[in-house]
């Protein structure tokens, strides 16, 4: 049986979940409060496929309970646990999924789709600002890493 969260989360609690994610750590909570209602609950039994490799990705997932396996065929690339996120770049840029995601255990996920996210960004540019900040930080870190490796 899928995980049954004891209670459905309120918006305020969803905000707290979002705030723990690295991609939203720069976004103020009052802005995340507008994002939280976009989180759709998704309960899955172990073994259910969340998305397949090659599918167009237009949503990101947050693992609230359970574990998710990211794999290419039989090769496991990662096992993601609670409070981890996958497919976050799909929120900005719809590309084909590079691997398959399957529920490794019974899971309770939150999904955010690209279209409502874009609409929200239109109204609350702060959402985009927080997201961009994190992407810039990642890019800088990668640059530094590559410069370090070259040196």
């Amino acid at each position: 049986m899928p995980h049954q969260p004891t209670d459905r989360l309120m918006i305020i609690e969803k905000v707290l979940v979002l705030k723990t994610l690295s991609i939203f750590k720069e976004t103020p909570e009052n802005i995340l409060a507008d994002l939280a209602p976009l989180m759709q609950e998704k309960e899955l039994e172990a073994g259910s496929v969340i998305f397949d490799e090659g599918e167009i990705g237009d949503s990101m997932y947050i693992i609230y309970k359970g574990q998710v396996k990211i794999h290419k065929g039989n090769t496991i690339l990662a096992i993601l646990k609670e409070k981890e996120v996958f497919g976050e770049l799909s929120l900005l840029d719809a590309e084909t999924r590079s691997a398959t995601a399957t529920a490794n255990t019974d899971c309770f996920l939150y999904r955010i789709d690209q279209e409502p996210f874009f609409e929200l960004m239109d109204e609350r540019p702060e959402v985009a600002r927080g997201f961009i900040k994190i992407l810039c930080q990642r890019l800088r870190a990668m640059n530094e890493k590559s410069v370090g490796a070259r040196n």
Binding site: M10, I11, I12, L16, N30, A33, A36, D122, E123
Partner: protein, 913 residues
Amino acid sequence: MRRNNFWLKIFNVRQDEAWLVKKLFLLQFFQGAGIAFFFTAAFAMFLDKFVITKLPWVMVISAGLLWIVGIAYSRLEHRLPVAKLSAVVTLFMTLSMFVFWLAGGFIKQDWFFYIMLAWFNVLYLLNNLEFWGIAAILFDVRQSKRLFGVISAGDIPSKFIGYSVALVVVSYTGTDNLILAGIVFMLGSLYYLRHIHRSGLLQQMQPHQTHKAPKQKIRKLVESFSFNTLIRQVAVLSFLISSCMLIINYAFYSGVKHAIKDNVHLAQFIAFFLAGSRIISMIIKMVFASRLMFKLGIHRAALLTPLVLIVSVLPVLIFGQVFTNELKVIYFFGVAAIAVDALRTSINAPALLTLMQPLPTHDRLRAHNVVKGIMDPFANLFCGILLLVMFNLQHHVNLVTLSLVLVILALGWIVNIFYIKKSYLRTLFKTVGSSYFNQEGFTLEDEETQQLIQRKIQAGTEVEIINILRLLNNSNSKLSQELIVQLLHHHSDKVKLEAIHLTKKLKIPGAEKDLEDLVEQSQSPEVVSTALQALCGYGMPDERFVGYMKHPDKLVQQVAVSNLLKSKDDALRQNAEHTLEELYASNDAQDRIKAVAILTDVNSSRHYLVLNKLMNDPSVMVSNAAMEAAGNLNDITLLASLLSLMTTKEKQVLNSLQRAGEAALPVISAYVFSKECTPEQRDKLIVVIGKIGGSKSMDLLLQLLHEKPIESAAIIKALYRCRYHCTVATQKLFEEMVKGYVVYGVQLLHMQQILQSDHKKYDLLMNSLQIELQQIREVLLCLFGCLYHHESMGKVRAGLNMKNKEGIANAMEIVEMMVRKDFAGQFNTIYETATIDHRCDALKNLLPANFHLQVETVLHNILSEKPINYNHWTKACSMYISKKNFYKIESGLITKYLASDSKLLQEIAQFAM
């Protein structure tokens, strides 16, 4: 604990800084004492052996030694990390003192005494470079202002104790053995240096990030000296200050030398005098320096010393003859030397170093070295030569001439401070902001630029050529026009389009033929339609458009119909009207969108009804295009119809109103004051008014500020966006608002202070109050922008948003320089990175004496919107916390949110009931 707090308060040091300040103070104490012992011994031995007129030779020798050591230090600095460098320098100083003590036993030649006294300057320089190098890394500009006075005071008690002990022990040990005591103190400083190293605060600082150590040729040194105006000016100032001190000390010691004859008494007198001056310096430095600098600002505080110097030497200039007696000279110049030295070390030196703090870390360290490493030798050399020349010309120490030199140097000192003030502000701006390409600097006049552009046109990429065209846009010369026309024939359609736009915009004479060629020959419909449109501006006959009315491409057809609708020929116009009717009656949404484009282009009131209908078109694309057109046409009836769609198509309406600009203001004005306008809509419309800008927008916003003060935050931001500058009539109102928002900020800080008692429990609410504080910060910056200086506040915002403490400190420094003193102080205290307790304590005077909060009152205040309109988020957090922690809240404060428009508040109110 309480006693500790008392002293920290006296010295203006914060709890979290106490450890580091103490270690730095002790480091400077031990090194200062070591140098004091060395100086007393070296100076007494020198004065005992030589006449005072030989002292200038020591200055000349010092100049050479300081130069060499300065060069060696900057080489090492590029090779060693700061932590290692400081240890090496301390060991070197200790070893050199030991060598002098050892050599003093058997070398009795004159040169040894000259070198030994000159070596004191080297020790002093190395100590300065090492100590300030460490301090500059550890503190930002605002901390420096507060703390440099205290930490650098470490060398004053050390010198006081050093000179006092020397005074007592010299008669038993002999002068030369004082150096041994100096070595012990110097070794003692290593203990504190190790503590600082172990803290890890210096570890991240690597050697200066140059690829290799610079070659120390004079040209290179001068280059490094002149790389920044601020550094150059501070260096000149440093030169003037050092020269003043050398001359004033020379005058004083000339009297001492005459009055006291033997070695031990000389050492005792020097020790007594220096101990006295140091204790005065210490009191000024530790208790008054930082407060004076905060009260007067760095620049006014820096003016104190030269003014005191001028006042001190003026009597000598006026009553020169009175000062022939040695004792009077001792007393007079002694007092002057104490006063100037005390002020110099307590206020001027920290101020000078603080001025360097806005520079990036490596530049700052480099600047310290430039100032200390290059200017001190110059000052020594200058004074040495000056005094030697004066003595050769006048054959005695002439106090009147010396005083005249001092007054001239002091005047130069004052003038320099004013120049520095300008550069300081510029440096702050530059540090906070970033430079970008300024098109004003672009000129086509020089041949080199012309050749470069020609080369790029021939062989450059599409993007490069488009960028060149955009640059030409600002330069309406004959040459740039020729280049634009030349680019109409470029093989790239994108370049052609950019060139057509510019041709049309600049109405370049004689370009018709080139445009016609494009219409006839180009395969790109976009190029054809744009060129056709450009040709309208050249008076192309209407008949020529008829041929394009049935053009297969819709863009070309659209241009042709638009132009024929404006024709004076009835037949041609009716023909075009017919085509237009077909388009807007078409079932194809694309045709209707094309009709909207034509209607926008023609902009005739006879078509407004059609456009009005199209705003309600079932196709979102068509209605959006029609609303956008309404924004472009600036017709008041169309705009009124547009605003009536506010509740259903808010985003498009707001965009179109903004596009309409000032023409939309009457309809917006009517709506924002009407009852049907909701607070949320009003907020958004206020933003639109701000974006429209201009004097009419400002008038409307000021009217709103008077009639809807509850919206003041949004209105102030909008006024700032309009670049509003307060007038005499509005200044008082804005200042009152600043006071109000500062008090709100302080109240929120006090709320946080109460909540921090159980941080885990109230973390959520603490963070939401932090967001509120940030929003108040934004309003305050906008108010400051309207009241004082618009651009500066943009820089402040950028600095405060930086993650590093230096960026924040520099931003606050700008606030301090641009904003009314009391407002700046309060603002900076609210937002500085000190503990909440410290900030609340510093600002408690702004609240009533009986102001007292408990957690329940905090929750109650938030839910009853006191003292501000809180974000939904803060109110939601407040209800959530009250429920989770079983606080009793009046039910009315919660039930009112059950009917809220916000889903968040509704949900949480249900939960909290």
